[in-house]
Every structure is written in C-alpha cells, then in structure tokens.
Symmetry: C2
Subunit: 704 residues, 2 copies
C-alpha cells in the first residue's frame, strides 16, 4: 500500500483547500428585493432575546368568527414573529405570551382602525389586538410586526391607529398589453393575457404588500384607457383579481374610456345626456356588479391629452361624471381627473384646470370625486401646491401624486419622495379648509404606482421606499417622512443604527438633489421630449406650445422665468390672497418657487447675496455634489447589508452621478448660449458642447 501518512495528509490538505475554495465561491441565496419591507429578518442581540423569551403565540378566542382575512392575519403574525426569531414557526412554551385577536364581525372597508395593548387572557398576561372588523385586525398585525421589526419589545407595544382618509389608492398606468406608461420596472405585474385561468402568485404578494401599508383600493389600468377592458372577457379577468384581493381589503376600480359606448357598444355617440348612452353604462355597471359586488368604480381621464370626454358633445365635466355616477348608483364611485389643459387655450397651462373646474363646484353628484394632482403642472420635482385645493369646498377632492419617477430620474439612483408629498400635504391653502391634508381627509389620496415585474418590484431597491411612503402617508399624513424612511430602511436593509442614520440622511436629501440638478429655483418641465428622459431646455419646436420646455423657462439673453404675477399670467391670482401675497414679491418669495412665479434678469440680486446666474450655477453644483455624496455614503455601507443589494444600489448611484452631471452641464451650456455669461469662478467647466448634448438621442428610453 502506498497510502502512507504523508499521502493522506497531503490529500487532506488538498481537499481542505478545495472545500475552502468551493465554500468561498458559493453565493448565499441572494437578497433580491422581492420581499420588500416584509423581509422579517431575524432580530439581533437583546431584541432577539426579548422576543424569544416572550415566545409569542397567536390566539383567537374560541367561538370567534373566521374569515379569509382572519386566516391571513393569523398566518402573517405567526410567520412574521417566527421569522424574526430565526425560526420557521412559533414555539409555544409554558410562559408564552398570547397575542389575542379580538376582531369585530364585519368585513372591513378599510376605514376602521385598531388598538394593540396589554390585556389579561385566561388569567395571564397577554397582548390584545382589537378592531371592529377583520381587516382592522389584519392592519394591526402588520403594525405589530413593524414595531417588532424595529426592535420594540412586545410588552412595550401600545398602538391605537385609524386611517386619516377613506381611500388610499394606487393608480396603475398599466396597459392590457403589459406595457406600463411611465413604468421603469419592467412589464406590468398584471398578466391580463392569462387571466382568469392563471392567477400569478405575485398578485397575492402584491395585495399583501399593499395591505401591510394600508392601501385599500387599486385602479388596475391606465387612465389612457382601452375600451375593450370593459368587455365581458375582461370583467371575468378582473373578477379573479377582485376575489384574490378581497381578503386583503382591496377594492378594484377600472379606468374607463368615455367613448366606450361607441367602441364596444355599437352606439354612434357617447353623449352623456343621450338616453341610449346612459342605458349602456347602466347595463355595463350592472354587469360588472353581478361579477364583482364590491367593485369600486371608474376612474376617468376625459377631454385631456386626446382622451374623449363629455366636452366632445358640448357637455361639462360634471355632466359626464354624473352620468357615470348614476350608472354606479350607491354601489361605487366615479373618480374624475382634473388634469386637463388644451393646446388651443392660450391661458397659462398651469391655470386651466382651476379655470375649468372651480365653476363646477357643487355640481358633481355625491358619488363623484375630483382627483387633483399635487401641483398645477405635472408631477415636476417641485411645484407649488395645486390651487384647486381649498377652492372647491362643495366638491369631494382627492390628491393624486406620482410614485413612479417620471420626472425625477425614472429608475436612476435614489429620489425619496416622502418629502415631496409631505410638502403638499402640509401646504396651507389659505382657505377655510386648512392644509391640503385636511382638504382631502374626507376623501383620499391616489398614487400612480411604480410597480413592475422586475424582481424587486420597483426597478431599484430604493424605489420600494416610495411605494411604502405613499401608503404610510395616506394612512397618516402626520407621520414625518424621515420616520417613514427610517422604519422602511430598518425593515428593508439593516437595523444597525449607524447605517440606518446614513441611509435615512441619504433619503431625506435625495429629492432635493434631483430638484437642484434638474430644475433649481422653481424651474420645471425642462426634460427631453416624449420619454421625459434627460435635459432638453432648448426644445421649442413642438406643435403644442405648452409641450415645449421654452414655454416654461422663457429664458433669453435678458433673463429667465415665468411671470405668473398680476403683470404676467396671474396664476398667483388663483391662490388664496394670503398665499399669493407670500409669493408675489421676488424679494421675499421662498426661493424654491422663485422662477415658477417670476421672470428675473440674469444678474438680479438674490437674498442669498448671489446674482440669479451665480445662484443657479451653485444649485446645479449642489445637486451634482449631493449625488456624489450619496454615492460616497453608500460606498461606506459595504458590509452593513447584503452584497447583492449593495452592488445594485451602487450601480444605480453610478448612473445617477452620470445623469446629474449631464443635466447640470447640458442646462448650463444652454443657458450660457442665451446669456453669454461665463461660469462663476471655481465652477467646473461644462464637459461637452451644447451641440453634443442636443445631439443625444434615446429612441429606446423606457416608459413612454
């Protein structure tokens, strides 16, 4: 035998080396972001010891009603609490802390809240979840898990919550062919083609994610709607979704094309006062309710950007909306968008919705909601709040925000939108209604979804935070966007306090960076045509004047900005006098809105001590520097979270750094071509020529 000790030892060494290598090369199951903020990563240290010592179990008192919602509630609690102990199921011990579900009998409509508090059960210490309905208990269970995930000991949890507004809604701009308008996260999550037979399991995960943040309504299709989605084959598909989502408290709505009676009904007209048209919609509503008894209603974009509407027949928005409202009756709601503007109307585009809708105040049926975008233009990185808020006291107004980042970098880098939304929710309307959040409190809030079939749902990891923040703010606008950022990051990435501090700080500042490098000092709508990607302030040749960036910046050799004071378009006049007064004077206006409302000379002196031109350049530079800083901060977090997501976000930030420079340089090159001014001393030179920036071309840009 040759196998002496030496050979065996050598073999053992080789094997050990081989094993070591194999293990080193073996990736763990990568974090791919699919679990969103519901990862329920195991706790660490004292928090873990506390939870294991509590050994919670979930208890529904005998005789309690059961329902699909309650089954889900129990399963979520049990799985989440087990996972955070590093286990796959709960283990009862003699000292187990019962978590007792005390849920009222009604199926919830998402309007009721819940309480979580210590309470005796069977003679021992327990934690009770109380809610008037089963859905309240589901909401409570997600709230409880969130608290535990944030490291709160079970015995210290006392919560009493109720939603601030009834409708907390996602609007999907998803087309039935799977394309998502302004979507940057892959194809639509809705697989209409294979419904109703095939229900993608993702549809359950989607409902669960929504329920975990209190979202209770979903418009499944694009406001630029296709009529055929009202055909029977689509009603069958929608019913499958409605049935799957019902236990999660989510009602389905459809975006309806106003001319559907012509396109699929065989009628010659869609005039809302035509009895045949009214009968067609009535029958259509009845057909939908026969399949989906809790169908939410219709969302309508009418007489806007080429969509048909009542004005095609000389009728008003109210006449159009009320006709559909009558078809729904007391079963559902019509949500009518106030996002309207006309090429042939020479009025400042930002003033047209107000001009059209305020005269209709009081004319809308009870079950009509008018949905108003946060600002008077179109989801820009920053706009003043929409003057309609507070100006239609006899109309149910709902806020529409955009979660998908059409104008804020799309799927590049990080732009946390909590601060943007908080800005509008907290805006004082200067009218009786109070701040915007108070105006919409009786109605609700809609967010244009940023979901897609990308594995991480939202294209980038940080865009999950925008979905999350939307739900949390619709539930409770008084939450601070920093708190929301922190709780999201803790559930999503890491509980390490230092890392959390860094991430929260990155998020807090991120949107302001985008404002700075794309449109500082109140500039807006300077992006590329069609796809809205990248800078194109030079564009001035589009057929509709108000589609041109030059319409908005009005820059020439003398100055820049849109005069919306009484000397100009007087958009200011649409605001309450107290608000208008704050903004009327360029010397005292919040600089965030300066060029939105005022046209100034390039050398105008600003309160900052700089000329307008120098201030503009400084803000562009601050935007670029801010993104650089985020990338550096993120770089230092390597090791604080999983490598897969760290690498993905690093790549996102690399793209954002490139794009921030491009925006800054292309914009400055263009402004310089008008004003002939040199860059202030110390400012980095522009990297390429204006012509080179103008020649860039992106026929394949996503989301259009």
């Amino acid at each position: 035998m040759m196998s002496g000790r030496g050979v065996v030892n050598r073999l053992a060494m080789v094997i050990a080396a081989a094993l070591g290598c194999a293990v080193a090369a073996a990736p763990l199951r990568a974090e791919d972001g699919y679990a969103l903020w519901l990862r329920h990563a195991p706790l660490e240290g004292e928090a873990l010891a506390d939870l294991r010592a509590a050994a919670p179990v979930v208890v529904a008192p005998p005789g309690e009603d059961d329902s699909p919602t309650l089954k889900i509630t129990r399963a979520e609690l049990a799985q989440g609490l087990a996972a955070m102990q590093g286990e796959t199921k709960l283990r009862a011990t003699p000292d187990s802390l019962p978590i007792v579900l005390r849920c009222g009998r009604a199926r919830g409509d998402g309007q009721s809240g819940f309480a979580i508090a210590p309470q005796a059960f069977a003679g021992r210490r327990a934690l009770a979840i109380s809610a008037p309905d089963h859905l309240g208990c589901l909401y409570a269970s997600f709230a409880l898990l969130r608290e535990v995930a944030l490291g709160r000991p079970l015995h210290a949890i006392r919560l009493g919550e109720a939603p601030a507004m009834p409708l907390r809604m996602l609007n999907h701009w998803d087309n039935p062919d799977g394309h998502v308008e302004r979507g940057y996260a892959g194809r639509s999550i809705f697989d209409w083609w294979r419904l109703p037979e095939r229900l993608d399991p993702r549809m359950i995960d989607y409902a669960r994610a929504n329920a975990s943040i209190g979202i209770n309504a979903v418009v499944v299709n694009n406001v630029n709607a296709r009529a055929f989605m009202l055909e029977p084959r689509y009603i069958a598909k929608l019913k499958r979704l409605a049935d799957a989502w019902r236990p999660y408290g989510i009602r389905v709505f459809l975006a309806a094309r106003f001319s559907a009676p012509i396109e699929i009904g065989g009628l010659a007209r869609a005039d809302p006062l035509d009895p045949a048209v009214r009968a067609w919609w009535q029958a259509k509503a009845d057909e939908i309710y026969a399949a989906i008894p809790d169908f939410g209603g219709f969302l309508v974009k009418a007489n806007s950007e080429g969509q048909p509407g009542p004005q095609d027949y000389g009728r008003s928005h109210a006449e159009g909306a009320n006709m559909l409202a009558a078809a729904l009756g007391n079963r559902g709601t019509v949500i009518w968008r106030a996002f309207v503007y006309k090429a042939e109307d020479a009025t400042d585009r930002t003033m047209q919705a107000f001009a059209e809708f305020v005269p209709l105040d009081g004319q809308f049926a009870k079950n009509v909601i008018v949905q108003v975008k946060n600002g008077p233009l179109d989801f820009q990185p920053r706009e003043p709040f929409h003057p309609l808020f507070g100006a239609m006291p006899n109309t149910r107004l709902m806020l529409e925000v955009q979660i998908t980042r059409e104008y804020l970098g799309q799927a590049s880098g990080i732009a946390y939108l909590g601060p943007l939304w908080q800005e509008v929710l907290g805006a004082d309307t200067g009218r009786g209604g109070g701040v915007v959040a108070e105006v919409i409190a009786p109605v609700g809030m809609a967010g244009v979804a940023n979901t897609g079939s990308d594995r991480n749902w939202t294209g980038t990891d940080f865009d999950q935070a925008n979905w999350y923040a939307f739900g949390r703010l619709a539930w409770q606008p008084a939450l601070s966007s920093e708190q929301i950022a922190r709780e999201w990051a803790a559930q999503t990435f890491t509980r390490d306090p230092q890392a959390l501090g860094t991430i929260t700080e990155m998020m807090r500042a991120s949107r302001e960076h985008v404002v700075n490098y794309t449109g500082p000092l109140g500039l807006a709508h300077l992006m590329g045509t069609g796809h809205h990607y990248g800078p194109a302030p030079w564009v001035c040749d589009l057929p509709r004047p108000e589609w041109n960036p030059c319409y908005y910046h009005r820059a020439d050799k003398d100055g820049i900005g849109f005069d919306r004071t009484a000397r100009g378009s007087n958009a200011l006049g649409q605001y309450a006098p107290a608000i208008a007064a704050q903004w009327a004077d360029p010397a005292s206006i919040d600089l965030r809105y300066l060029l939105w409302f005022h046209r100034l000379a390039w050398d105008a002196a600003l309160p900052t001590g700089r000329s307008l031109w120098a201030e503009l350049v400084a803000r562009y530079d601050a935007g670029v520097a801010g993104v650089d800083a985020m990338a550096a901060q993120w770089g230092r977090l390597a090791g604080a979270l999983d490598a897969a997501r760290h690498a993905a976000v690093s790549a996102d930030l690399a793209i954002q750094r490139r794009e921030a420079r491009w925006w800054r340089d292309a914009s400055l090159a263009y402004w310089q071509s008008l004003n002939g001014l040199p860059l202030p001393e110390g400012a980095a030179p522009v990297a390429e020529s204006l012509e080179a920036y103008q020649a860039r071309n992106f026929p394949e840009a996503p989301g259009q």
Copy 2:
C-alpha cells in the same frame, strides 16, 4: 392566583389550535421555476445514501492553472453535490471520494468534449474529470451533476462526450426597448437601459443555464435590428455582458442592420461595394473588437420583410455578406439568414429562398454561414424540412429553429418541441450530405430564444423544457427527445418514476396535439393576423398575398390544399428526386404532409379509410382530446410535485383546453361555410357561429 390547572390546560389547547392553524396556513417557500433544471433537489432513498456515503469532495491537483471558468466549475460541483445531499456545503470524511479536475490549459471555444471516469488519485479511488480545456471541465461538471440528479451512483458514472457541432446558439429577438418580438415570457431579460453600470444578476444565471446545456453563442438582439445598437454606448453595454459571460464559454454576436452606415454613419448609401461603406464597417468591427476581443460576429436579416440589404443596390446576398465578412476578417463570422420572400414575386413563397440562394452556392466567404429555417415556410407546427439542406454543398449551412412558440400556442399549455426538431434533424435530404443533422454538423444550430423576465424565464414551466431540449439536441442530435424530456422532468419536477412516466408521455405527444387542433394533415399558416394568435383561416384580404391564410389552404367548395406537385407550384422539384418521389403521390405520401403538397377534393378517399373531410374532423378532435387527456394526466399528478408549479401548469392547461376547442370549432365552422358538409356522425357540434369566431379581436395579444 387564579391560574389553576384547568385554565392552563384550556390555554394550552387554544394555543395549540392557534399554532396548528398558523402552521397550516404558512406557505413553504414556493417553487417558482427560477432555478430551471438546476434545482439540484436532494436525492431520496438509496441514491441519497449512496451519495452521502461517497461524500465527494472536489479536488484540483496543486499546480493546476486557475481561471474564472475553473472557479465556477469547482463551485458548481461543490454546490450541486452538496444540495443533492440536502446540505449547503460538502463535508469531507476519511473515505471521501475525490472528484479530480484535470483540465487542459486553453480557454475553451466550446468545441472540445470531456471524459469522466474512475481513476486513482493519491493512491485512492477517485473520479476524474478530464478535458482539454477549462470549459470542457465546466461542461463535464454539469454533465456529472445531471447524472447524479438522475440517480446514478457516482462510482458508476463513465461519460465521454463531445459536441456534435461547433455553434450552439441562441438568437434573441429582443429589442433594445425591452420588447421581445414573439416573446411570451415578459420583457427582455436584457436591461440595456441600465447597462453598463448595472449588470442584472440574472445575466449570470442565464449564462450558467446556457453553459449547463452546452450553448456557447448568443445573438443578443432582434434580427429586425436597430442601427443604434452599433453605437459606442451599446458597444460598452455589450462588453459588460461579454465579460460576464466569457467564463461560461459564451460568445456574443450582434444582429446588424445592413443600412447602419446610413442611419448612424452619416453615409448616403449602404452599397456593399462602396469603399466608404466597406471602410465604415471595417472601422466598426475594429471598434467592437477593441472592446470585445472574442466578439462572435454579425447576424443579418437582409432584404426580407422590409429589412434593408444588398439588393437595394443591385448586389447579391453573397456580396452583402462577404463585405461584412471582410470587415470581421478572421476574428468572427457573418451569419446570413436565408429567410427571404417577396410580395412582388408570384412564386410559391415556400420556394423563394431556394431559388435565391442555390445559385449563390460557393460564392460566400469562408467566414459566412447561411442560416436556414427548419422548414421552407416559417416555423409552423409542422413543415417538411427546408429543401436548401443538402442543396448548397459549397456553403456553410446552419439550422435555425424557433424555441419560442410563435405558432404553437405561444405561452398556452404544453407543446414540447423536441420531437419537432428531431423530425428535421433526422430528415434525409436525399442528397450526398445525408440527414439534416449531418449537413449542419460542421457548422451549428440556432434557436430563437423563449426567455423573458418572467420569474420562471419562459412564461410557462414546460417551456423551460424547450430551451433545455434545444441545447441538448445542439450538443448531440442523436439523443432521443423522450430521453431529453425525461431527464429534464426529473431535474425540474420529480424523480418519482411513475410521475416521470406520465410527464414524459404528456410531453412526447403534446406537439402532435397542437398540429392536430391547429393544422392537421399538412395545413399551415391559418393563424390570426399580426399577432399569430388563434385561428383565422378566413383571412384573405391582406395586402401581401402570401400573408393570407387563404394563400396557404386554397380551400373552396371543391377541396382544400396547396398543389405543390409538378402540376402546381412544383415546390416538390426543389427536393432531391428520391424525396420528391415519396411525396408526389397523394395515395402514398406521409399524411403529415398531404395538404402541404396536394390539393384534394373534400370527399377524396384517404388510406385511413375515411374521406378527407372526415379525416380532418377526426384529427381536429384528436387534438382536442389530446389536450383534455394531458389535463387529466396532470391532474392526477397533484401531490407528486410542489403545489405552486402544479397549479400553474393546471392553469396553463385550462387555457390550452379552451384554445384547442376554439381552433377546432372556428376552423371547422369555416371549412363548413365553404364545403357545406355536415360534421361526421358523432362529432361534437361547433360551439359558436362562424361570425362569432370571426368577430373575436385581440388587440392586446402579446409578442407582436
């Protein structure tokens, strides 16, 4: 203290009930299909005991060269062998069986094979993997894991393999905007928009899956190409992919738009004999090779379906291809598609490629390959083999098949394509070259990919089998499609022999069902316009005659079928005389090709004893019954595999059952409207009117 024994007992019972419920409701981590055939599910029973007893470890002899490919090889072996033991890493024991890698020094080009056999190592029993290059060792490692996964004991494994053809290639019809032409599995897996900064981890999983079945070349973009993919920004993106895929032995190719010198080069013409055009392509090739030294070359669709090409300048396909070949030089290959036909050419469409290309035989440069579809029409459920095979002895011919099921149900149900490809690979050309597999052996085989960003890659679970079968057949066309189905199913679903038998049988028959319910007896091209979804044999008004179903079936009150004999178009004359003779007589022709080559009266007597009409109806019915049978077989497999994928496939089959009936009924309703014949006794009536079938409309059908 009130907590007497009774209360405690009651609490314990409640808790136990609650736990039981929670556990029952807790889903396991669902099988979502992402792992493809590389699941490496733990073995069971004796096979598991054998593997654990062998306790394999992976050993690379000291001094061996290392490379990224070898690192991957070791990691794959270690992870796969551990996973099949139910472990996360290998454990060495004193009796461990070393698996010794003996890999030659070259980076492989995918042409070399490998051997696996017992061999002594360090004086003990071992298993040796030998290959002339590192890629051969990677291929061997996947082969070894496959054998183990199929339950073969390590000590019994002896393999010697070499690929049957050099190029085993996927063609992606993926557009840079993420849309996949004829894709039914979601958006493109290629995220061009965020490359080069962001490399989706899926790109590694994709390369790994390809390597595991021997695929060694990928054309990343649609043959209907956009010129801008040749711009520098796309070369940088492609380089990132090439670098990521290189260790897996995958070379990248680009589909090139022939008119790119005009569109992105600023030239006025793209004439292949114009020196400026030649210089432009030469510089472009040099630019690509500077970034990607092993760039594979260009795939070109020229002068076909609206694509530009050399004929725009009065030049031949050979002149066009040779110009590009000169630009690539000895660095790469031009793959030139033979899929050409013209509206203005009155010749039978199926004859045009032959007529155009045969005269060019011998004129193509050495580094040009002509890529020929399996049949002379266009990827129909069944066609006779393409007559070009064997007819161009002085040209390098490559076979093109379609993995995505454009004409075979798209993402509905099950249609396993192994038998289809085996039919063409085994087709005797009747000429010197032998069967088609022999004709292409010196060159290769391309498959139009069916991948997308759906979680399961291919839209349905069973479509993974088509990707798998393509790779396996390109590696070794002599494998039987049944064997491939069985090994795929065993790795993908279950090793239970009875379940495996059922699944293999379902797969074996599935394509024939599709033939029967869509186009029996040699009928073809009867599908809906544009999207190619569903039946539309009545369509006869499209501007190009050869786009109309009526062009192909030629049915009227007297009969049906396309006379391609010498009395008709004489497409038969393009085949070798011995083959043509087999097919010339309707009395003796294989019935699979009957109406492809012959036009017959509805009451013609067939060798089956039935009239043509009765036989047609019987075949449609057999197709419907076959799908019903598959659904029933699959239903009985509940419990034999995971619930998630069982439910998904059940849904797929429910869709296919609906579609099979629709094809059968709509087709029969139309034939009856022509021939006025009743259905044979016992045949199920047609469910709806012809008008109802004709009115169906699918503007949102995917993949167009």
